[in-house]
């Protein structure tokens, strides 16, 4: 019974409120890390919800329009369970880094987000979305904060999310002077997901990132702290073009 109740709720959450975390270095969050002008980052992500036995694949693309302007796209597809309406809605976001303070120890950035969610099914309505993202990087630690609000049009419910992500570079403790680097980062996050008519579901995420020069492999586990109390497993890869 619980599973029957949770499955549609989970489906709604996944199909209607998916992240567009194309270039994020947080596991589930946006960040203000730059995408170079003309460059693109593609991300493929699998998220498994063990409680409702559901698996969703998410394809993301981040495209750098300029040094401070990025277009982000996200499209989810439900792999399991099978059935109709597996394709989620297309999320489109424009990110403008409006403030940036680069210095020897790292960087601080603030970006504004605006965009829309385009339904891929006639049964669902569109949404507009707006938010912000901030990044603070010092030495081996990066903090990312983001929040996004989606205002539903017509019958679509409003929704929102927040992500607080801390990434710590485990190795190397000190970068070599020159040469190609591979690094391991530990990621700890506090996330929140909200949908009109429900309470905010707060979540904790723990993960690892294996970061190479042109690709990243990452995995993590997310536990709901309230609400459905679901456990999710996430694997993802990012490629820079």
């Amino acid at each position: 019974m619980k599973r029957r109740t949770l499955l549609p709720l989970f489906g709604l959450l996944m199909l209607g409120q998916l992240p567009v975390a194309g270039v994020a270095m947080g596991l589930r969050s946006f960040v203000a890390l730059p995408v170079d002008k003309g460059g693109a980052v593609v991300r493929f992500q699998l998220e498994r919800n063990e409680d409702v036995k559901s698996t969703v694949g998410i394809a993301n693309l981040a495209w750098g329009l300029s040094h401070n302007q990025t277009l982000l796209f996200g499209l989810p597809y439900r792999l399991d369970p099978s059935g109709p309406k597996r394709l989620g809605d297309l999320a489109i976001l424009y990110r403008h880094i409006v403030w940036q303070d680069d210095h020897k120890q790292g960087t601080s950035r603030l970006g504004l987000l605006g965009g829309a969610v385009a339904p891929t099914d006639n049964d669902r309505d569109a949404a507009i979305q707006a938010g912000f993202v901030a990044t603070f990087y010092r030495g081996r630690v990066e903090w990312d904060f983001d929040a996004l609000y989606q205002a539903g049009i017509d019958q679509r419910a409003d929704s929102g999310r927040y992500d607080i992500s801390r990434q710590f570079r485990l190795t190397p403790a000190v970068y070599p002077d020159w040469g190609e680097i591979t690094e391991w980062d530990l990621v700890i996050e506090l996330n929140g997901r909200w949908r009109e008519g429900s309470e905010v579901v707060h979540q904790a995420t723990l993960g690892l990132q294996w970061i190479h020069q042109s690709w990243v492999l990452e995995a993590g586990v997310t536990q709901d702290l309230n609400g459905p109390e679901a456990t999710r497993f996430l694997v993802s890869t990012r490629l820079h073009f």
């Binding site: 730059p34 170079d36 750098g64 020897k104 190479h212």
Partner: protein
């Protein structure tokens, strides 16, 4: 007057070009991880006359090795860094 004008023009040209310098280094601020700096690495490597581009996250700088006899405009280097989302310092010949 004409000679003075020519001198100014030639001087300006010489300042903006780093002719015959084999290795150039430029401090860069704002880099955070190897993946984030990949775009910068590629852009610097694609600059005309560059044989090898290296980026150091530790030293916060890039090093460009030029092809023999090649020259490179400082502004092109700075533009590549800015387009990658970072803040360049002064380009220096090594």
């Amino acid at each position: 007057m004409k000679k003075l004008l020519q001198l100014i023009l030639v001087s300006s040209f010489m300042v903006s070009l780093l002719a015959s310098a084999e290795t150039l280094e430029v401090p860069i601020q704002g880099m955070t991880c190897p993946f984030c700096a990949d775009g910068l690495h590629r852009k610097l490597g694609e600059l005309p006359g560059v044989e090898k581009a290296e980026v150091s996250l530790k030293l916060k700088k890039a090093r460009l090795t030029l092809k023999e006899g090649a020259s490179l405009d400082k502004d092109e280097i700075r533009k590549a860094i800015i387009d990658s989302g970072f803040t360049p310092g002064e380009v220096e010949a090594k």
